[in-house]
Every structure is written in C-alpha cells, then in structure tokens.
C-alpha cells in the first residue's frame, strides 16, 4: 500500500507543519542569540553595535539574577512535590468505590480549566487577603492573627496557587493510569496477605512510574514559565522574593527597554531549561522507554 507516490503525497501533507515549526524554532532563537550580543535600547536608538558579553554581564550581575534562578527552580520543585504527592493520594481515593464519583471528578478537575489570571486574582483578593480574605477568617476563627500570605510568604503563596492549578492534571493522569491496573493483580496481592502499604509500594507505585514521569515532564515545561500568577499577585516582590526568570527577562528586556540584556536573559532561560531537561531525562526518562 505504501507506494512511492503515497510517500511523496505524505511529504507534501507534512510540509506545512514541519515548515511552520522549523521557522518557529529557528528564527526567534537565532534573533535572541543575535540581540544578546548587540547594544540595543528601545529608548535610545543611538546606542548600537557589537556588545561582546556585556549584556550577559549586565544580566548576570543584576541583583535579582540569583534570586530569580533559585525562585524559578523552587517553583518547579515545590509545585511538583505538592502535585505529585497529593495527586497520588487523591487518585488513590478516587479509585475507591464511592457515591457520586462523576460529580467528584468534575469538582476536582475544575481548577485546571481556570485561566491563570483568574486563579491569581481569586487567591489574592478573596482567599489570601489579610483583611477580608477567607484564610484570615479561618485564622480569626481559631483565635490567631491573620497571616499576610503574599506579603510575608510570597514565594510559598505562589507555589500554593500554581499547585492548586496543576493538582487536577496530576490527579487525573495518575487516576487514569491507576485504573488501568488490573483488579486481578490487586486481588492476588491481597490474597497473598500483602497489606495496604506493601500493595501500594510494590504494585501500585511501580505501575504509576510512567504516568508520574509524564506528569513531571509536562508540568516542568509549564512551570519553568510561570508568569501571570507572579505579575498579578506580588509583582515579583517584595524585593526580588518572588521574581523568577521569565519575570526578570520581561522586566529587563521590554519594560527596561534593554533588548540586549533581555535577550541574554532569554538565552540563560534556554540553557536552564536544557539543564533541567537533561537532568529530568536522566532521572526519570528511562520510564518512558517501555
């Protein structure tokens, strides 16, 4: 069936996608590299020419640089730990026979469909606000002083908000994987006298390895780029306490008008993403081979 002619047709059918993605991959990255070595200010067209590594120096010596790198990684790790940990727990619970499973699933998956700006404003103004927020009301109920979450624990607050958005995704995928584990296997283990924890450790968890890997890989792609939540809740502060790399790049390159330094920061982000990717593929990638 696969004749030469049909293969030629297939190539033509693939051409638009390949072409579009090739351009999307090469052009912006090439321009980023180019600008990173140029003097280029949005506000002053007279500044131009080859900059050597000055832009990198400028970006890397920014007092916000190291905080931004550390915060970026903390957000990734923090959200992954919360979502994978709680996700496994919730998936285990949802896998039990209960009444109203359909509605429960709908309730639990909902945060994933909430656009980040809405999640951010709702958590900021309605939950975490120290005066009229829900958390403040809970604190007062227990006779405690309300906590100024975003003021005193900005990064932790952002991690919680982002984790809330991604928890449904992790739960849903882990649940789907859990449900593909055959009942017979679980029952056989039960009959052999394996207790709940042994069953979880030796049967369920290994079965989930692939799904956990997928969750980690996909979430990491998005978590490295968390942006809207920070802009809306804390604006990166106080100080640089919740500034991450995408936020710093925008501030430097576009708001600050220093295109060269912004581009240099962009390359730092690309390198960081690659380091994380290599690290992840080493750590969990082998689960994908099967």
């Amino acid at each position: 069936m696969a004749t030469k002619q049909s293969h030629r047709l297939a190539r033509w059918m693939m051409a638009p996608s390949v072409f579009v993605l090739l351009i999307w991959m090469i052009v912006p990255l090439a321009l980023t590299i180019w600008f990173a070595f140029q003097r280029y200010r949005l506000t002053n067209p007279n500044i131009k020419g080859f900059a050597g590594f000055a832009n990198f120096e400028f970006f890397v010596t920014d007092p916000a640089f190291w905080p931004a790198i550390i915060n970026t990684l903390l957000i990734v790790v923090g959200v992954l730990v919360i979502t994978v940990g709680l996700g496994i727990l919730l998936a285990l619970m949802l896998d039990q026979p209960i009444w109203g499973q359909g509605i429960v699933r709908i309730l639990m998956i909902s945060p994933f469909f909430v656009m980040p700006p809405v999640a951010a404003v709702v958590w900021k103004h309605e939950l975490m606000n120290p005066t009229w927020g829900v958390f403040a009301a809970v604190s007062r109920f227990f006779g405690q002083e309300p906590v100024n979450w975003l003021g005193n624990y900005p990064l932790l607050s952002i991690i919680v908000i982002v984790a809330w958005q991604w928890l449904p995704f992790a739960t849903l995928i882990l649940l789907t994987a859990m449900q593909s584990l055959s009942e017979e296997q679980k029952e056989a283990a039960e009959m052999d006298g394996a207790n709940v924890f042994r069953r979880f450790w030796y049967i369920i968890l290994p079965h989930l390895a692939r799904a956990i890997t997928v969750v980690i890989l996909i979430q990491t792609i998005y978590l490295l780029g968390v942006y809207a939540e920070i802009q809306i809740t804390t604006g990166g502060g106080p100080g640089f306490a919740s500034t991450n790399l995408p936020f710093l790049i925008y501030n430097t390159g576009v708001l600050g008008g220093n295109i060269g330094a912004g581009a240099a920061g962009g390359l730092v982000a690309v390198v960081l993403a690659n380091i994380v990717a290599i690290f992840l593929m080493r750590a969990v990638g082998r689960n994908l081979d099967a």
Partner: protein, 274 residues
C-alpha cells in the same frame, strides 16, 4: 458480612472524598458565591450566603470594556485552533497512515519545540510584533497561539488517527470503493471524533494561555486573560464585580472541560497514558 463492611467503607470513603473535592473546588465555589453578593456584602468579609443578586453581572456586562476582551478571547482561541487544525490534520494523517522510519523522530522533534521556554524568545518576538504592526492585534495573537499549540495538535491527532484500523480500508477497497469514497465514507467518519476532541482541548489551552496574550497585547486586542490581570490591585469596591467577571471568563471553558476530561488526559500526555 463482607458486603456490610464494604458498604460502611464506601460511606466513609464517600464522605472523605467529597470533603477533599469540595476543598479543591472551594476557590471556584467561593468566587461564584461572591459574584452573587452586593459590593457591600463582598467587602464585609467571609460569608457563604450571598443575597443572590445579579447586579455585579449586570454591571460587568454593561461595560463595553468587558465585552471586547470576551470577543477577543473567542476570536483568538477559535481562530488559532482552526488554523492549527488545517495545518496539522494533513500532517498527522500522513504520519499515521504512511509511517516511515523517520516518523517517530519528526514527532519527537515537534514536541521538542515545546521545550523552548517562552521567556527565552520573548524579546525577539516582541520586536518582530512591534515592527510588523502585529503587536496588540487579534491576528498577531492568533498566529502566536497557533505556533505554541501546533505540536500538541499534531500529536493528539496522530494518536487518534493511529487507532483507525487500516484493514477497514482494504475491506472497503475490495467492495469496490474508490479513493474518494474511501475518504468520505470510511475514514472521515472515524476521524471526526478525534478531530473534535483535539479542537475542544486546543480551544481550552488557547483560551487560558497567559504568557503571550499578556505580553503581546496592550489594549485593542487584549483578551480576557489581560482584562482579568488588570484587576491585580484593589480598586474601590470591586470584589463582587471581579468575581462576576471571573466567573464569566471561566464558565464557558469549565463547561467544555467537563465534557472533555477523558480526552484531556490523552491529549496532554501525547497518548503516553491511556
């Protein structure tokens, strides 16, 4: 006896799971409740009982500046999805039905374009948009959303198309079907559900995209993501109106999402988890 125990266990689990589900859902629930309060009630502090007024919805919908971002969101999410499908369907089709040894590599390469951090290419994209007049236009935002989501669309379609049995084609051919008839009567009906799910998921992703839409729009083309983001600092009595605007912004997508949760798993995991 075993039954009785399991019923009790089921009841306990039911209560526990419902409790957890309500906690997870609470921020959305509370937003809905707040949207039904008056501004005075909303500012008064925590309360689960609103006066069920729709005045905040009326106030939000009365303002022209809500309807435009809503319209913008509709245009860019549906527009970018349709363009992405037009480009991706032939590609996914070709890879699923005439696979070559390189097909897998091409797919992986497409996926790898998602690994590029958006912040890494923000600066040149901003300049390109600035210099071509695409900044703050619906066309510009549609283009960028198409590019961002194209790899996911190709992958998702590919996993669906791959499941269409090729044998059925041969059967149809034996029955004397021409190539055109094959396509229209045999393949297309089987491909439609996959295309529909892909469309649904991509509209959701595009609607909620909040990096490029925030950064490459300022005013005219600003979609709901940017509109809601403008509420980042408190402005007078605004909680109820903010809640109403938020509910209006997420409701269409929540409904779509509830219908497509099964497809969501395979779509977002590129078929790696089924």
């Amino acid at each position: 006896m075993a039954r009785a125990v399991s019923t009790r266990r089921k009841l306990t689990m039911t209560i526990l799971v419902w409790l957890v589900a309500l906690i997870v859902f609470f921020p959305i629930l509370y937003t809905i409740i707040t949207s039904l309060k008056t501004e005075g009630e909303a500012a008064a502090g925590f309360s689960m009982i609103p006066s069920f007024t729709f005045e905040s919805y009326a106030a939000v919908l009365d303002q022209q500046d809500y309807l435009r971002p809503f319209f913008n969101s509709v245009v860019i999410s549906i527009g970018s999805t349709i363009v992405a499908l037009l480009i991706a369907v032939p590609a996914a089709w070709a890879m699923a039905f005439t696979p070559t040894p390189k097909t897998r590599d091409v797919l992986m390469w497409m996926l790898s374009t998602k690994m590029m951090p958006a912040a890494g290419v923000l600066v040149p994209m901003y300049l390109i948009f600035l210099n071509t007049g695409l900044l703050d236009t619906l066309l510009g935002l549609s283009i960028i959303l198409t590019l961002v989501n194209l790899p996911i669309v190709v992958w998702m379609l590919y996993t669906y198309f791959k499941e269409i049995p090729v044998d059925i084609l041969e059967a149809a051919r034996m029955d004397g079907a021409t190539l055109g008839k094959e396509l229209v009567y045999v393949l297309l009906p089987m491909a439609v559900p996959g295309i529909a799910s892909t469309l649904l998921l991509n509209v959701i992703l595009a609607w909620n995209e909040a990096f490029w839409t925030l950064r490459l729009s300022t005013d005219d083309a600003a979609p709901l993501t940017a509109f809601i983001a403008s509420f980042s600092s408190p402005q007078g009595q605004f909680l109820a109106k903010l809640s109403a605007a938020s509910v209006l912004a997420i409701l269409p997508i929540l409904l779509l999402g509830w219908f497509s949760q099964k497809q969501l798993v395979r779509g977002l995991t590129f078929g790696a988890v089924k």
